[in-house]
């Protein structure tokens, strides 16, 4: 059989020029002149098949060797990190003689229940002052609440009901939201309503190729917003122009390899933010260099649903589908503490939301079963379960956040409500 130069079929595989390229690049470079090439083609098709098989084998061997190298390096990294973990926060606290905080049954009270949403609440955010909260719900609305009076100052009907996240701008004049339509909408709260009585969209941020899972304005910058998405990337946006400034990830190995679910911007250094993903890792990013993550944090055994910076800006917490919260050191990558509550049955509740108190001593963690544990971060013990208190939520906790002055915690739930919790206890005499 004779084949034209550049056209070879072996079985069902169209090899063509590529096969020849491969043969000559990998078996016997440099490439011989065309005449002998054709001769080679004609000489024995069986040899081509063998040649191709050899090439494929060589490719596979090379690929396998590289993958094995990666796995070996990862294992070495794991072992080296394990050696550096000489203690954890709780063991260190025991050495210092710390004991767990003691809370009475009325020390945390539900001061307010914000009712108004008609479907699951997915997200909330406090203003930096003046005690307002914006919440997002599957009913397709954002509601802005005055927390002191429980009044709704704005009810914003959204273009898409499938909202997953919302955020207040630092000035408190705008709110952002995003969801399953992959678009982030910005609303100016001072804009006049349109003739239907709805607040108009002031900016649309389009570009994500997957759902928007989380958004946060850069502190002190009303014009910059960071979003995370199911398309495995995070994006820094210029809200004024609606343009993407930087895209973080999207190309392995520089970023996440699965949906990104949550972000948290460092309050002490707003150029740094951390993201949590379905690939079971958290990653630290520098907005000045989007080409690759600064650090990747391993440890969780499931999706990292929520991340939040520790108040000192040097550590951050994570919450995961594996039922644990963890505290990581931002700079070194050390896993400083695991917050894990033993459960009798196999049904481990997922951690859906976390927040730190203003001193970092308390870690509030919302779970898929409606519990909201208050962890003493130093001794790694649960000191209160808000889910067992009077007036607690009746469904999954989806979001939580602390007021700017640290005096109140807000939780949002699938039970359609938001609740405000504050310290209602006494200062006891010893």
């Amino acid at each position: 059989m004779q084949y034209k130069w550049g056209e070879v079929k072996v079985g069902e595989i169209h090899l063509g020029v590529q096969l020849q390229d491969v043969l000559f690049n990998h078996l016997c470079p440099p490439r011989p002149p065309a005449a002998s090439y054709s001769t080679l083609l004609l000489a024995s098709s069986f040899h081509f098949v063998s040649g191709y098989k050899i090439i494929v084998k060589k490719w596979n061997l090379g690929h396998n060797a590289a993958t094995a190298t990666v796995n070996a390096l990862r294992e070495r990294l794991k072992q080296k990190r394990r050696l550096l973990l000489d203690t954890d926060v709780a063991a260190q606290a025991r050495l210092q003689g710390r004991t767990a905080l003691s809370f009475g049954p009325t020390d945390f009270v539900c001061c307010r229940t914000l009712q108004g949403h008609t479907a699951k609440v997915y997200s909330l955010d406090w203003t930096t002052e003046r005690n307002r909260i914006v919440s997002a719900s599957q009913d397709g609305r954002l509601i802005v609440w005055n927390v002191l009076t429980s009044q709704k100052t704005h009810v914003i009907k959204l273009p898409c009901a499938w909202v997953r996240t919302c955020a207040f701008s630092p000035s408190g004049q705008s709110v952002a939201c995003g969801g399953l339509d992959s678009i982030c909408f910005i609303f100016n709260l001072n804009s006049p309503s349109d003739r239907d009585g709805n607040l108009p969209v002031s900016r649309m941020l389009s570009g994500h190729k997957g759902y928007v899972s989380s958004c946060q304005f850069v502190p002190d910058e009303d014009s910059h917003l960071i979003t995370s998405s199911g398309d495995q990337t995070c994006v820094l946006w210029d809200v004024t122009t609606g343009q993407r400034i930087s895209v973080f990830g999207g190309e392995f190995p520089s970023g996440h390899t699965a949906d990104v679910l949550s972000i948290s911007i460092n309050g002490s250094n707003s150029k740094m933010f951390v993201s949590g993903s379905c690939d079971a890792t958290a990653q630290l990013w520098d907005t000045r260099n989007a080409s690759r993550a600064v650090q990747t944090y391993h440890g969780h055994a499931g999706d990292v649903n929520t991340v939040k910076f520790f108040p000192d800006g040097q550590r951050f917490g994570t919450g995961s589908d594996d039922g644990t919260c963890r505290l990581f050191d931002m700079r070194t990558g050390h896993e400083l503490q695991v917050y894990h509550q033993q459960h009798g049955n196999n049904d481990i509740p997922l951690v859906t939301a976390i927040a730190f108190s203003i001193s970092g001593r308390l870690l509030f963690a919302g779970y898929s079963n409606g519990d909201c544990y208050v962890w003493d971060t130093l001794v790694a013990k649960v000191v209160v379960n808000l889910g067992s208190l009077q007036n607690s939520h009746e469904g999954r906790i989806t979001c939580c956040g602390l007021s700017a002055d640290g005096t109140a915690l807000c939780t949002g739930s699938w039970d359609r409500n938001l609740k405000i919790w504050a310290f209602g206890g006494h200062r006891s005499v010893v």
Partner: protein, 168 residues
Amino acid sequence: MAASYSSCVPSLPSPCPKSPPRYPDLCGKRRVLVKVQMIESEISFLEEELKSLEGLQPASSHCKEVDNFVGANPDPLIPINRKISKSHRIWKWLCGKCCFNFRWICCSCSCPLHLKSPSCCACQPSVNLLRCHGLHCCHSKRKYCIIPMLLLEVGILFYGRTANAVIN
């Protein structure tokens, strides 16, 4: 035999090779090369990370930093334990007696000795949310606590204030 064999087995169609597809390369070589490049990148990142671990301090120093930071910052959501002197214990007892005997007088938790309210004035959630952190949560009941408050103020003036606040 051979003839019958050849009539039973359908003859294979003559090969008709196609030209290789143009860009994008769907047949694999470029894709494999890209994969190899990505793996090589990852190898170099991992080697970099391994090198960076060499100078790192162990976790204990960072755990201590966490402990120091938490200890240095007050928190409105955390109860404060206070130690008081013996003299104030007398007033504590006296105030407790007053509140017990005069049930219509509630010892508010704004009492300077920060006494626990007796059951006659269970602390209700405050209207003023921001001040609902222990000191003022029985704000509305303050007007009833005049007599014990006066006694306390006299006592404090007489014995002096020696309470030490200990935050554990």
